[in-house]
């Protein structure tokens, strides 16, 4: 997600519902990793507010003790979905690596556990992103599970975009995607299959370096839900979603 979900859209569950639906489980186990912001209480409370009733929700703190003797591997690999919050991409990756969580998350991905996140929690999966961890935006390498680079908040924090474009042009980052707040890119394996949005009027941008030139391609996302975005909009049940997809020849991945 270029931005969105429960920490940014308290009244709009469209993106979070999509994450849950990807697990194909009636009561999925969802683990929240608030590492990038230092496990702030506000984010954790908001997570349980959004997922507490619809999922078996837990969070993993790397700063406060749980009093649990369970290993990180046991906790991570039993999930159906792992949801990573925003914050500092530099801190996120450094702290994950210090705990060995980078390797555990790669293993989770190989096992088919849904990996989701916004902002730093989205860029981390790609070859690289643009972080503001040190103040001004700068390119940064990610875990590299997904090919290409990703930059977030294209509309909300426009100062990131020129830094990203310059990094792609200079070869410091591979080509990739930029996403507005509310826009989510959905990958199966390493292939992008859908671009969705919780907010009308938003877009994603595909940028590639071809013969030394940046080639840009604007992507209009599929708007989620019933004109999703309005406060109080209800999640669409799976069977209705399927019916719609069949009727309208919609994308079924």
């Amino acid at each position: 997600m270029g931005g969105g979900g429960f920490t940014m859209e308290p009244d709009n569950p469209a993106l979070d519902d999509l994450v849950l639906s990807l697990t194909d489980k009636p009561a999925p186990r969802v683990l929240f990793l608030p590492t990038a912001s230092g496990d702030p209480t506000g984010q954790i409370t908001a997570f349980y507010g959004r997922f507490g009733r619809t999922a078996a929700a837990t969070h993993l703190s790397l700063f406060r003790r749980h009093g649990s003797a369970r290993s990180l591997a046991d906790i991570v690999l039993e999930q159906d979905a792992i949801y990573v919050g925003g914050g500092s991409m530099r801190n996120l990756l450094a702290i994950w690596r210090a705990h060995g969580l980078d390797e555990l998350l790669a293993e989770a991905w190989r096992r088919g556990i849904v990996l989701a996140g916004l902002s730093a929690g989205a860029m981390c999966w790609f070859a690289g992103g643009v972080t503001c961890s040190g103040g001004p935006p700068e390119p940064m390498e990610g875990l590299g599970l997904l090919p290409g680079s990703f930059t977030v908040h294209a509309d909300g924090e426009p100062e990131r975009l020129p830094v990203w474009l310059a990094a792609v042009r200079a070869g410091a980052l591979p080509g990739g995607w930029a996403a507005d707040d509310g826009v989510g890119l959905l990958f199966r394996g390493t292939r992008m299959t859908r671009v969705v949005s919780s907010r009308p009027g938003t877009a994603a941008l595909r940028v590639e370096l071809v013969a030394g030139e940046l080639v840009r391609h604007r992507i209009v996302p599929e708007l989620l839900g019933d004109r999703a975005g309005g406060p109080g909009s209800r999640p669409v049940p799976d069977d209705v979603r399927e019916l719609r997809a069949l009727r309208y020849g919609g994308r079924r991945d």
Binding site: G38, D39, P40, R64, R90, A94, I95, C132, S133, G135
Partner: protein, 230 residues
Amino acid sequence: MEAGNPLLDDYVLGLTGTERPRVCFVPTASGDADHYIVRFYRTFAGRCDASHVSLFRRDRGHGAVEGDVEQHLLAQDLVYVGGGSVVSLLGAWRAHGLDRVLKQAWRRGVVLCGLSAGSLCWFTEAVSAFHGAPTVVRGLGLLPHSNCVHYDGEPERRAEYRRFVGDGVRPGYAVDDGAALHFVHRELRRVVSSRPRAGAYRVEPTDGDVVETPLPVSYLGDMRRDLALA
């Protein structure tokens, strides 16, 4: 920053030899927890030039040091490192180059102190018991010993630490809650405490066994009065 007990804080401030010391709090190990930062300012702002470094909210204007963190840290009389996860602390510091800056501050004579993770980080090896079973992590190595904290509070650590030292972790120091090791350069100068019964121990292998030797501890309060009250 023990509630209602300023003895250790007074002691570290005294080490600066300055009337109004510049004190910087580094709460990385807690994820820059707001309540911890507030507690720091409540404790120190009245009598020090107090500041803090945030590695999580640098662009959000929470009153943290902005701009050149390195120069700021090097200009302090005292750097106070908060508790939390030593693994997360070291990971974040290394990503920001703060490990290097703090070593430089130490060489320049800035007093470095901290509790829990903020103690472990200065040593070459440290026992962390954050997730699952205790493990040994590599600290900054300013103090060429091993360190184990909360020695009285968490009995499993005591056994694990002794086992680690028996298995080749370098000899070092185990410390109860409320006790503090005071090093000058790499040498232990003194052990002080804010609680009458808090202890500290030298733990080292001897003839195939691990020996735990209690160290003399100077209680910083009024022993006769406080033991009578306890």
